[in-house]
């Protein structure tokens, strides 16, 4: 369960948000994409906030490390457990206990509704990255709760 009070507050807000979005839209994937673009906007803001006191990033990898450490730990009170890359612009972040999933019951039975609880975070990541000049597509995957995988595909232009 979430540790600090404001964390609880966020969880509740988040689930209200998800519930609301899904109450408005007709098909599932649209809900995900809506949450995602909400997240994007928030991500952009966070990107501005969190990098305010860091030295300028030299390259993409530094940005990714920032995501995995500072960004993650400041949002989810823990670092990403594993970062892998193919050095062709694909990065996979794994969080073995993703905060927004921890309060959904562990196991497989709710897997189908997992995407909607990750959508916002995907957007957050994409937002931060895009604000840091890395255009990307971020997708999420849950094999078993509460561990989540985020795949970042950098769009090279």
């Amino acid at each position: 369960m979430t540790d600090n009070a404001s964390g609880v507050l966020f969880d509740l807000l988040h689930s209200q948000l998800v519930a609301y979005i899904y109450s408005t839209i007709d098909n599932k994937n649209k809900g995900v994409s809506q949450l995602e673009s909400l997240g994007f906007r928030v991500g952009v803001s966070l990107g501005e906030q969190l990098t305010k006191d860091l030295p300028r990033f030299r390259d993409e990898l530094e940005v990714m490390k920032f995501i995995c450490r500072d960004f993650w730990s400041s949002l989810y009170q823990k670092q990403v457990d594993n970062l892998r890359t193919n050095h062709q612009g694909v990065y996979v972040l794994q969080d073995n206990a993703f905060k927004l999933l921890t309060h959904i019951s562990v196991g497989k039975q709710y897997l189908d509704c997992a995407p909607r609880y990750l959508a916002l975070s995907c957007g957050l990541i994409r937002g931060v990255l895009s604000n840091l000049g890395v255009k990307s597509v971020v997708t999420s995957e849950v094999i078993s709760m509460p561990s989540a995988k985020f795949q970042i595909m950098v769009q090279r232009t």
Binding site: K30, S33, E36, S37, F40, R41, V44, S130, N131
Partner: protein, 1122 residues
């Protein structure tokens, strides 16, 4: 540049020692000529820097002033004499060389050497009071002997020296031989030495004056002297000390008290010294940073020294020149290998030069106004044959007093200067300066700065009245500022552009730039915008545009400008009245910002072919006044063109194109259908164009093409929004383009179901019923409905299966898929078809059925007639194929215990076992054995009733037993196939007789043993204790030879018996014997009979072949009851 401010070239050149050669007659004397040439022709860089000149021996050099013994009463009249540098560069030599032809052994030595002496004298006298060195060169025909050997030479040389009062060091011999150049270079070095000595002494002399000077009266002399010393040091090629003294000079210049009357003189000389310093730092001492700091200070210190207000222009002119000169030096240094950086290169200095040139121009323009009715003074105050001191006013030379003596003269002088100034073509200078700046910025990744200068250049051309150039230059600049979204700048540029396009009556540029200037981004005063719009509208109606005026704030109009307006109007008149028709001018919106804005959205992400596709086009105008759009045209990727015409009264919606009120968003819904071949395609907008103006008048086509994506950071297309939702007012930015949609087939309205009673059985013709029912609404005919049934086999599966519509020709058909043309179907009509499949192996067959059809529908759009749309659906299903029943067969002895070997001629039983696992009952219509007669198998005795007509329910099984024997003798080691059997079966009560399937199965194989005698005995099932039972063993010969047989019957505890115990007999071919026994069982239970044995010996010629075979009856046990 007014020349009195320019740096004189004597200052800019590199000072080099000046040496005069006399006594050379280059005209008539070839030898002399060659010598002269050797001195001054093709001097390469490795030669010393020397300025030679060839003068007559009696040349009069500048007289030297009588040296004053004290400076006490001396008041200098100026800073730097304009003659001084010239004098030392080209008039007053450091060395004078006297060339004289004289050989040591000259017969007339006496006279000649005196003549030489007198020549020297002449030179000496003309150099009265100078320390100029004199040298003598004897041109001799013969090469001299090595020194010391030629006594005559030595002695005569000494004589000559004394005659000329010349030190031996100053006497040189130039043998005129073939190594001339070698000698010359040696001489040159010698002369150079002398000149160095000369200039050093000169420098020292000037320095010496210092003692006599006092700060009050001789201020001017301090800088002057230091300058001179510096200059001499340059002559000596000693840049370091030169720099030192120039720096002194510079500081002294600054110590001078300045007032209006000497302002220019001080600035000018200060400029000179600064120039020398910078030059040395840049080019000689490779200290660019020193140069730059020096220049910075220089400008800092002098910038404020602007002198008389009437001559402000002079100051900025001077400043501008300072910058230009510095920039030139900087560039020269770079060309000599200095590397500059983005933020420190000549470009900036040229730019500054241009900047001050502009200020100068402004001053000049202010003057112009004031000087309207002034005339140039009768006697020219500027006219003067020679100006003694740099930077002094011609009309009051040599005066060093704070206020001019003669005020009227002063006034005239100043006015003369001013009038001169107004004659200058300032713009030209500015442009050229900007030009050099631009060319330099190019090299230092400063394209934006470059752009800015281009714009300034354009403005300058505007002032110069070259409006074409303006249009050309500024048009180029617009792109950067548009992409950079510098609206303020862009507004200004476009305004200027439009102004000039008007003046030059440049139609296209006028159209293009006015459409942009009207855009909401660009800010010009509202009234002006109105004018611009009017002009544009006029033009579109082929009328003369209103004149476009620039803001009053902008630099005032050049005089030739007013006339330009009238010319312009004429130009327009002629242009527009000309009969020729104008092309449609098109404007790519990707490189423009027009006042018309467009966005569009497909109302849905997906349309079926029968649906009417709706494309919403949102447009608005951002110009100040209402305006109209004549045509709106959308081009799709499939080539479809959709348009909204202004003059299309048939549709009410479209007529509202007419009037656009500013910033009102208009929505046009373009409804259309796509052609059938569009199915499964993505439909997207390729291009959208908005036509302004009329076809009969003029027109512009605004074209949106390639990418329509907004600048928004989020690439996702947001959800389409409706005008209703925003209740009319909605910020334009919330509309995002949705430029593509997907076209899909109409949903199929055929009910297709497939009936079959799985499982299928191997070999049978399995029937699959396909039932299609059309539920297509309001009785449309589903045209040429086609169903394709196909077997989905993975290639490696070897199951042999094929389809056919008739089961009769199944065996012939090899079809893996069937196409059923079902023709047209009315609504609610149902079609059924049966298809048969047959396979040879138990497996699972996968099928897919694809049903497709077309139909003609009247579209929901009026006047679009019918449209053909296709739809289809496919169903996948699988059929399990099983074997109809399990078949087993095995061999047993007559009393049914299974055996793997049988004796020849001894009958045995073949058991055939058929069992069904399947729930659908099976009937065996007929069954038949086919024994393998070639190997001697044949049926023996009566047969059990065959399986014919048996019906097997699930888990039932039928058994058939057949007695068979083999009458051929075989090799006992190999087994032989008994034969095979065939079934003919069908599903029980199958109505279809054709569905009988025949099936063949193999019978097992067995080993067959051959025997000479066969023993058979009729043994009863059981006997009783102590009751006699008789058993007869009958022996039969099976071989063609006679044989001896010995029979024996051993006693046993279980029986008493009577009958032959032992006997030998003879058995002829085919003959049979019987032996009967009576047995009395003594024990109960299953007992072995007393062992009966026959051993028969074939009679054969040779003994070897006579082998003995023992044989026993088959059944040797009996059950004994009590």
């Amino acid at each position: 540049m007014s020349k009195h401010l320019k740096l004189p070239e004597e200052l800019c050149c590199n000072p080099t020692p000046f040496i005069v050669l006399t006594g050379l007659d280059n005209v008539y004397n070839a030898v002399h000529k060659s010598i002269w040439d050797a001195f001054c022709n093709n001097r390469r860089n490795d030669r010393l820097q020397i300025q030679f000149s060839c003068l007559p021996g009696d040349h009069a050099y500048p007289r030297s002033k009588t040296k004053r013994t004290s400076y006490d009463w001396y008041i200098p009249k100026g800073l730097l004499k304009s003659s001084w540098m010239k004098k030392h560069l080209s008039l007053l030599p450091s060395v004078v060389v006297v060339f004289f032809e004289l050989d040591w052994d000259d017969p007339a030595w006496k006279e000649r050497h005196l003549a030489c002496a007198s020549r020297v004298q002449v030179v000496r006298s003309s150099l009265q009071g100078r320390t100029t060195k004199v040298a003598v060169v004897l041109i001799q025909k013969s090469t001299p002997l090595p020194p010391g050997e030629d006594m005559v030479a030595a002695e005569r040389a000494a004589a000559l020296c004394s005659a000329c009062e010349l030190s031996a060091k100053s006497l040189f011999i130039l043998p005129h031989t073939d190594q001339l150049l070698g000698y010359i270079i040696r001489l040159e070095n010698a002369f150079y030495e002398l000149s160095q000595v000369y200039y050093r002494t000169e420098a020292r002399r000037v320095k010496a004056h210092k003692e006599f000077l006092n700060k009050t009266t001789h201020q001017l002399l301090f800088p002057r002297h230091q300058f001179k010393i510096g200059f001499f040091n340059e002559m000596i090629q000693d840049p370091t000390s030169a720099l030192k003294h120039y720096r002194h000079a510079y500081t002294h210049v600054h110590e001078l008290r300045t007032y209006e009357s000497n302002n220019l003189e001080i600035k000018l000389v200060g400029g000179f010294v600064n120039y020398k310093i910078c030059k040395l730092c840049f080019l000689k001492l490779n200290a660019p940073l020193d140069a730059i700091t020096q220049f910075r200070q220089h400008v800092e210190q002098f910038k404020s020294m602007c002198g008389s207000q009437d001559l402000l222009f002079e100051h900025s002119a001077w400043l501008s020149h300072q910058y230009q000169v510095f920039a030139d030096l900087f560039s020269e240094a770079i060309s000599k290998g200095l590397s500059a950086i983005q933020t420190q290169h000549p470009g900036f200095y040229y730019n500054q030069a241009a900047y001050y040139a502009k200020i100068r121009k402004q001053c000049a323009q202010k003057l112009k106004a004031s000087l309207q009715d002034q005339t140039y003074p009768s006697e020219d105050p500027l006219k003067v044959e020679v100006l003694e001191f740099y930077g002094q006013r011609p009309w009051r030379q040599g005066q060093q007093r704070i206020d001019p003596a003669d005020h009227s003269k002063e006034k005239d002088g100043i006015m003369a200067l001013q009038l001169e100034e107004t004659k200058q073509d300032h713009s030209l200078q500015i442009i050229s300066l900007l030009g050099s700046a631009i060319s330099i910025f190019k090299n230092y990744h400063c394209h934006r700065l470059k752009r800015q200068l281009t714009v300034q250049m354009g403005e300058e051309y505007y002032h110069a009245g070259d409006y074409m150039k303006v249009v050309a230059l500024l048009t180029r600049a617009t792109a950067d500022y548009r992409t950079g979204r510098c609206w303020l700048i862009l507004s200004k540029i476009l305004w200027m552009l439009l102004h000039c396009s008007y003046l030059t009556a440049d139609l296209e540029s006028f159209l293009i730039h006015s459409t942009q200037l009207l855009s909401r981004h660009l800010s010009i005063p509202h009234d002006d915008k109105i004018t611009v719009q009017h002009s544009l509208m006029n033009l579109l109606m082929r009328q003369i545009p209103l004149p476009i005026l620039l803001p009053a704030s902008f630099d005032h109009v050049p005089e030739h400008h007013t006339s330009a307006y009238n010319d312009a109007e004429e130009k327009w008149k002629t242009l527009l009245s000309s009969p020729k028709s104008f092309p449609v001018y098109s404007l790519q919106v990707t490189d423009a910002i027009p006042f018309v804005e467009c966005k569009f959205q497909f109302s849905k992400p997906q349309f079926t072919m029968e649906e009417v596709i709706a494309l919403h086009v949102f447009t608005r105008v951002t110009c100040p006044a209402p305006c109209k759009i004549s045509k709106l045209l959308v081009l799709l990727n499939n080539g479809t063109e959709l348009s909204v015409e202004e003059n299309a009264e048939k549709d009410a919606k479209k007529s509202d194109l007419k009037q656009y009120t500013p910033f009102e968003i208009k929505e046009h819904v373009l409804k259309f259908l796509c052609s059938p071949h569009e199915k499964q395609n993505v439909l997207e907008v390729r291009q959208l164009s908005v036509l302004l103006g009329s076809s009969n008048g003029l027109s512009i086509d605004l074209i949106w093409s390639d990418q329509f994506v907004d600048a928004a950071t989020d690439p996702k297309p947001s959800s389409p929004f409706s005008m209703a939702q925003l209740g009319g007012e909605k910020c334009w930015d919330d509309i995002s383009n949705i430029t593509s949609t997907e076209i899909v087939e109409c949903p199929s309205r055929l009910k297709v179901n497939i009936l079959h009673k799985t499982p299928a059985f191997v070999g049978e013709a399995y029937a699959i019923d396909i039932k299609i029912n059309s539920s297509e609404s309001n009785d449309f005919t589903a045209e040429n409905v086609t169903a394709v049934l196909s077997l989905k086999q993975n290639e490696n599966s070897e199951t042999e299966a094929h389809l056919s519509e008739k089961c009769s020709d199944l065996h012939t058909s090899k079809a893996k898929s069937l196409q059923l043309a079902l023709g047209n179907m009315e609504t609610n009509q149902t079609i059924e078809r049966t298809v048969y499949v047959q396979t040879t192996q138990a497996s699972v067959l996968h099928f897919s059925l694809h049903v497709s059809y077309q139909m003609q529908k009247p579209s929901e759009l009026p006047k679009t007639g019918v449209l053909t749309c296709t739809s289809s659906e496919s169903i996948d299903f699988a059929v399990e194929v099983l074997t109809p029943f399990n078949f087993t067969a095995h061999v047993t002895s007559l009393n049914l215990d299974s055996v793997s070997t049988v004796n020849q001629n001894q009958p045995f039983i073949v058991l055939v076992n058929v069992s069904s696992e399947n729930f659908s009952p099976i009937q065996i219509n007929s069954f038949s054995l086919h024994l393998n007669e070639n190997d001697g198998f044949k049926t023996a005795g009566e047969q059990s009733p065959a399986l014919d007509g048996k019906v097997l329910q699930q888990r039932e099984c039928a058994v058939g037993a057949f007695t068979v024997l083999c009458d051929k003798s075989h090799d006992p080691s190999t087994s032989f196939l008994i034969g095979s059997c065939t079934f003919e079966w069908s599903r029980f009560e199958s109505e279809n007789p054709a569905q009988k399937v025949t099936l063949q199965r193999k019978l097992p194989s067995i080993l067959v043993k051959s025997s000479p005698v066969s023993i058979t005995a009729a043994v009863p099932a059981f006997g009783h204790l102590r009751q006699k039972l008789t058993i007869t063993y009958s022996l039969k010969s099976h071989i063609s030879e006679p044989q001896t047989i010995e029979i024996s019957c051993e006693g046993s505890d279980a029986f008493m018996f009577s009958g032959t115990k032992n006997s030998t007999g003879f058995l002829a071919p085919g003959e049979a014997h019987n032996y009967s026994y009576n047995f009395f069982p003594l024990a109960i239970g299953y007992q072995e009979l007393p062992r009966f044995m026959v051993s028969c010996t074939k009679h054969a010629e040779d003994e070897k072949a006579a082998q003995k075979v023992d044989q026993y009856p088959q059944n040797r046990f009996i059950f004994v009851k009590p």
